[in-house]
Amino acid sequence: MNTLLPLTVAVPLGTGFITALLPKKLNRVSDIIAVFSAGVILLNVIFLFGYEGIYEMGGWNPPMGISLYIDSFSWLMLIGVSSVGFLLILYSVKYMSIYTSRNRYYVLFFMMIAGINGTLLAGDIFNRFVYVELAAISSYILVGFGCSSRSLSAAIKFTVLGALASAVTLFSIAILYALYGTVNIAHLGAEITNLHSYNSFFNPLTLSAFMMVIGFGIKAAVIPFHIWQPDALETAPSPAAAAISTILITSTGVYAMLRTAYAVFNSITQLPYLIAFIGLISVVFGTLYAYSAETYKKTISYHSISQIGYIILGLGLGGSPIVHQTAPEAAALAATGSLFHIINYLIFTPVLFLKEGVYEYLSGKEKDSNTDYPTVSKAGIFSLAGIPPFGGFISKLMIIAACFMTGGLPGIIAGIIASAAAVHTVLSLTKKDLLKLKTSLELKNIPGFMKTPILFLSFMCLASSLLFLPVLRQRFLEPARTNIIPIHEQKPESIKK
């Protein structure tokens, strides 16, 4: 058992508690503590590279105690989350000086990171529920951090939907517990595969699966459940908006939904289609809403919904048993493309919010700007639009190509719709003048703490396309893909039963 595993959660928790104990005047000290421990978390995760296994909390075996579980997919998410988290903390040091009570902000931010790390490592659905709640509650507060009336109304909207989501998730856990008597993910998966013997489609198990998808779908802000997202992202402080749109949504929404769907409900063969369908809807309506959005931040928020849609679409296709049988390479491509797109999404979305923060910091105004930002940060928007050399292009292409490769009619229709949406994304960004290269802000004026994260992430937008190289792909993406997608070899018999 690797002690680094629980430390990934314990370090941010401890940082939060200690920062809360510090007196208010020592803002400098809390800055140093925050940056230091964000670095420690990042190092911690880097040292976990290649480690696969479980950690039994308190030394109790899995069904009795709680277990932490790490594999390549969780590691991939963890490294993304902790490096983005580190950069956002760096950025916040300078940016948050325009807000009051900065050390409380650090407390909340570290609680959110602790919740996210706990979510990613959880090997137990109830434990995952608790840590998703922790991350969610801190994010509700971060949205309302500015205490302006608009941010407060965004926060209450987010809170109400989040509370509903958690109740629905808990209901689903309750049904699973009443049926199988365990909440451990591995055990539940095994029990469900063995005991799955319902004749009708309407049974407690599908009800539970449905509720789980709805609950995590609200957290992931996919289209029917997206109403909290644009408001929340528009009014939150910039680094908090960047954190919520990337690390929170991908881990407590997308990761939790897919992990539960594939590890627990793997015997419900229709579930991947539902997930892929939700993804497709999000892709289409995300770009459509973005076209008519008024402000810059709203446009970006809706576009990020459609990017999440691509991720879910790809992983839904990649997990479906029928695609697996008819066109295995399409399924593999879709899943790999989705994982690649998660990485790209984690890189390009923060840039879009952070450069907005630079403008706010320098001018003190909250109005949105289409003109004032360094040219380098354009990389983010190019990657989002899918302009060729950038990472976003390759991953999107992989997902769309996989749709066509499935061969079936629904796959082709999905591919056509998804590629039309991709073109539409570029068009709507061009219409809003977001793709033009123009600059009126010199890099010199930006404080170093704010400049470094933006420059690094912008560079990574381009560099991430290197992940497509077979050497790196096989090292990082392929193991993660085999970890998340269940193997469907024994499927046909269990369907017949």
Binding site: P6, G14, F17, A20, M57, G58, G59, S101
Partner: protein, 155 residues
């Protein structure tokens, strides 16, 4: 301050020590009878909340000052976390009940269950401070005539 009825003031002054005592009982005997850190902590907080509601902000803050409550809130959680971490130190496993393994007490006695008793006390203190703070914030927030918001925290 508002006019407070003499009956509420006197009765609340009489009752709140008993509520406090009951809360302590619920916390300490949480591992051998129904109860535990959570309900016990809320009951402890209730004795302060009663003072807050019946006799006003100052009477409650005299018993549990604001700064102390904030410190107790964070340090209770910190004690819990450090007990979990000391599990690594003593037995090599996070969250192991090392006291129970090293020197098991006699079951059904007060001193039994190893770290469970300590965690119960830490959680009790923490929850007491938290719930008191929540109610304090809600009841202190007022808008004066000049639209200045009165809160506990100055910026």
């Amino acid at each position: 301050m508002k006019n407070r009825s003499l009956i509420t003031v006197v009765i609340s002054r009489w009752v709140s020590p008993f509520i406090f005592l009951y809360g302590i009982y619920i916390i300490l005997y949480g591992h051998i009878s129904p109860g535990g850190g959570f309900p016990g902590g809320v009951i402890l907080a209730c004795s302060f909340i009663l003072a807050l509601l019946a006799r006003g902000k100052n009477a409650a803050l005299k018993r549990l000052p604001y700064g102390l409550a904030k410190k107790l809130d964070a340090s209770g959680a910190l004690v819990f976390l450090s007990l979990a971490l000391s599990g690594i130190f003593f037995t090599g496993v996070f969250f192991s009940n090392f006291l129970q393994k090293l020197m098991p007490g006699k079951p059904l006695q007060l001193i039994s269950g190893g770290t469970i008793l300590i965690i119960n006390i830490a959680i009790g203190v923490k929850i007491c401070a938290s719930v008191f703070l929540i109610i304090l914030f809600i009841s202190v927030l007022r808008i004066r005539k000049d639209k200045e918001i009165q809160t506990m925290e100055e910026n």
